[in-house]
Symmetry: C3
Subunit: 364 residues, 3 copies
């Protein structure tokens, strides 16, 4: 087996533009004004009376007062600024200003393309220097989150770190054994080598770890009822920059493998989804979801998985908050050492760096 051993300077992962990002769960956007900063841009979200999600800049064009700040308010399908009353429609165009009848031509908020899909609100973050096309068909899917065949629980946490640290974290699950021991980690996760593949055309990183005979961690034993040792497959599929899928399959040791047609009746499937959205270069929204095809409709299992996964996510939040603080205090030029387990994370970083870089000038 080849062993990687690579020292690299630690650098911050740049934000990638001309991309779709998860900005919220659909349930978070209502007839209340809702603001969230995505890739450094403060965005105001609300639903029209017809139920459509709208997204526009959360800064009034007049004096840049935040439109989400009280006493700003929604009146029918317009937003009225709480400072001087500039009023905007669902398309961000200003329809009224104080003290005069004429509304300035240029008075309009930046409006964002939004798509509500798979329980998420996706928003297109454009690159003002290199305009791109907000094509909804390019949004990666996570159908389990909004499917009648799956039960899902989810949440969102905030991390004071560059999003690259969360990408690193999720691409290298060997940390489950140490950081999440007693929840989802067992010795076999760290011990079992991974395989890594990169589909450069599709821009997807795959990392797989198949454990043939492993302890069953509480996350799975309590939710599935499986006692004894298990076969545990972790198949990661990361579509940079935002969507991370962990296809998890567990089955008692000795259970049948999936059939050729994909049916897999003796196993328990969990689809663990993370949306990794930069708030700023220094902070990250960590959307997490757990969908399952077992114990359907069992509220106790839903509650257990929601609480247990949130505990695990908060272990990551604490660790990454601490890690970012440590990195911020480092002198310039410090290095990290990468080994085999880091192959997926390094591939992800390479793809993200290429996506963030200016397109090469075509040679004539």
């Amino acid at each position: 087996m080849h062993h990687m051993e690579r020292r690299t300077l630690v650098t911050m992962t740049a934000i990638v533009r001309n991309q779709w990002y998860v900005a919220a769960y659909g349930r978070e956007v209502s007839r209340e004004l809702f603001s969230r900063t995505i890739c450094g841009e403060p965005i105001l979200f609300w639903r029209t009376e017809g139920g459509e999600v709208t997204a526009m800049s959360d800064r009034c064009v007049h004096r840049r007062f935040p439109l989400s700040q009280s006493p700003s308010r929604l009146v029918d399908d317009t937003v009225v600024c709480g400072y001087h009353g500039f009023t905007y429609g669902a398309d961000g165009v200003c329809v009224a200003v104080p003290g005069q009848k004429r509304v300035p031509r240029t008075a309009r908020l930046t409006s964002y393309s939004v798509v509500e899909q798979d329980s998420f609100v996706w928003v297109w973050i454009a690159d003002p220097e290199r305009p791109g096309t907000a094509d909804p068909s390019t949004i990666p899917r996570a159908r389990w989150l909004d499917s009648p065949d799956w039960d899902a629980v989810s949440g969102v946490e905030h991390i004071d770190c560059n999003y690259g640290l969360l990408v690193d974290n999720l691409l290298d699950l060997s940390h489950e054994t140490y950081l999440h021991g007693g929840y989802i980690g067992t010795p076999e996760v760290a011990e079992t080598p991974i395989t890594t593949e990169v589909d450069d055309d599709a821009g997807i990183v795959y990392v797989s770890r198949h454990m043939d005979d492993a302890q069953c961690p509480p996350f799975y034993s309590k939710s599935t009822g499986v006692q004894g040792r298990i076969t545990r497959w972790q198949d990661i599929e990361y579509t940079p920059p935002c969507l991370y899928l962990l296809h998890s399959r567990i089955a008692p040791v000795g259970a049948a493998l999936p059939a050729d047609d994909g049916t897999d009746t003796e196993a328990f499937h969990t689809e663990i989804v993370y949306a990794i959205t930069p708030e700023t270069e220094h902070s990250t929204h960590d959307f997490w979801c757990v969908a399952r095809d077992f114990a359907r409709g069992d509220d106790e299992v839903s509650t257990f998985l929601a609480e247990n996964n949130r505990t695990v996510v908060m272990q990551d939040v604490v660790a990454l908050d601490v890690l970012q603080k440590a990195l911020d205090a480092e002198k310039a030029g410090y290095q990290e050492l990468s080994i085999n387990i880091d192959a997926g994370g390094l591939a992800a970083r390479r793809i993200l760096a290429a996506m963030a870089a200016p397109a090469p000038v075509p040679v004539s």
Copy 2:
């Protein structure tokens, strides 16, 4: 009617020097050491045994310990530094040091010219690069605050914003309708056009809004007892950088206009005074006062006006704290859009910028 529509880069308003600023109310300065930072300069205030206000640098010449910091203390008409005992007279000259009899010649604190007038303590903030003259006769007046013919209430709040944002706020009262609705704002304020005049010789900005038939907001109906609709005049007179006067006249619709000799017996007059004093480039002291010529001696009205106006001021404080944070997080090069209501604010900014600029070199 001409409509202004102007896009400008948002810039921070520079602090103007060689100017008088309100540093405190006279009542705030006593035989206790009192420190306040004015235009970035930490200043120590105290009253001599004879009752005079003194102002000197709040930093000991020895090791720069703050003289306002316990256990520093006043002994007769001297201040004793709480660190090593350097002792200063009311003129800032050092009169004793530890361990030796001889006091160094150069041991003296910067001393500030102060004038106590109209309930305020005014302090002269010099420009070390272009020395000017601290002429007390140039201090603008607000006689209502300390007059036997008027009843006044007042206070001071702290805002985490550049003082230019407060100038903007006060020069454009259309925000009363939105930010202060239910207190001092009614629809007519935002609806009624303003007239703006600038006296470039005197360096004063006037903004007037006369409403012939308007709702009476609670601030006035509860203090005057007027029921029904009113004539409401708002006449702003701003003497940059520090003193802002709002001459307010309300009267029941149909009441007599002021006579040619100025008598105006059927109206209620309120003189609303703000002193706008930069603490630093990024923070502001907001002195607010309300003087009236009605309900004289009525403590209930005094209490109501003090509480109501403080509520209004705190609405501004919250909004401007939020606004400054929003501006600080903006990328470079963002713009704002000005319309008719902003004529006064833009004139004020122009005057402030001219005052802050170096004087042109005279051509021989």
Copy 3:
């Protein structure tokens, strides 16, 4: 008598490298992971099963996770990183990594030379640009702290200031009269001139103040039982950068002087020791100790001296926190004024500046 009067720019004291620093008391280091930042370097301390103190970088070589951060943990004589399980021996060499058998050659933590002596854990802070030799015999001694002939109390506080401010503070005890009045200060401390000597070869600053007839402050009257006026000697011996000794001798006025052979039976001796250790350029560890040769074994006196001295130290901490904030807010180019009492502090600064400067290139 010559009077010094010197104006100097205030500058931050640079950290000196290739030096031994007190990092902890021996009692602070156990089988729990213990982290402290010394001269900007986060260092992990723990004791081996054999009882030896070890010191290594508190950052995992893999992703720079702090090894002191839970769930990192000690297993026998190895530290296991709580993020991905990199495991290190007491010499900082990595002995295990996840997912592979082979440990990378270069996986080792920076290891620090440590010496446990006089109750302290001393650590060598190297200068990476100019390698020096960590010679334990050059560590200055404070034998009273760990001697059967003395009783000692001690503690450590954190100050948000450059360590130069604490050096200044301790070299000029005239501040006792003002900042510590009622505890250790009396009028005579500030009034009595000092003598200052510098041993440039040994690199030691001596400052002495002998008061022949002084009030006895509570610190000494309550611990010794002496009533009435005293002879009080303060003999400072500062070995830059870290170790400060205050040899304190008090005796009732009229008591015999020390004999020629050094015996001094009519006096009370207190050895007050400070270790001044930069945490960063902007913060300082203030280790304080009080050893005495009287009231031996008297727990009440021990408790009194520990509480009283900690109160005094906290008065310094509050003052220096405030002073550093004041200095940080100053405009560039501000000055301080030094007089006779500052001779020791200025000598210390001069030595520290020379130690921090690059060695001159030898002329061939």
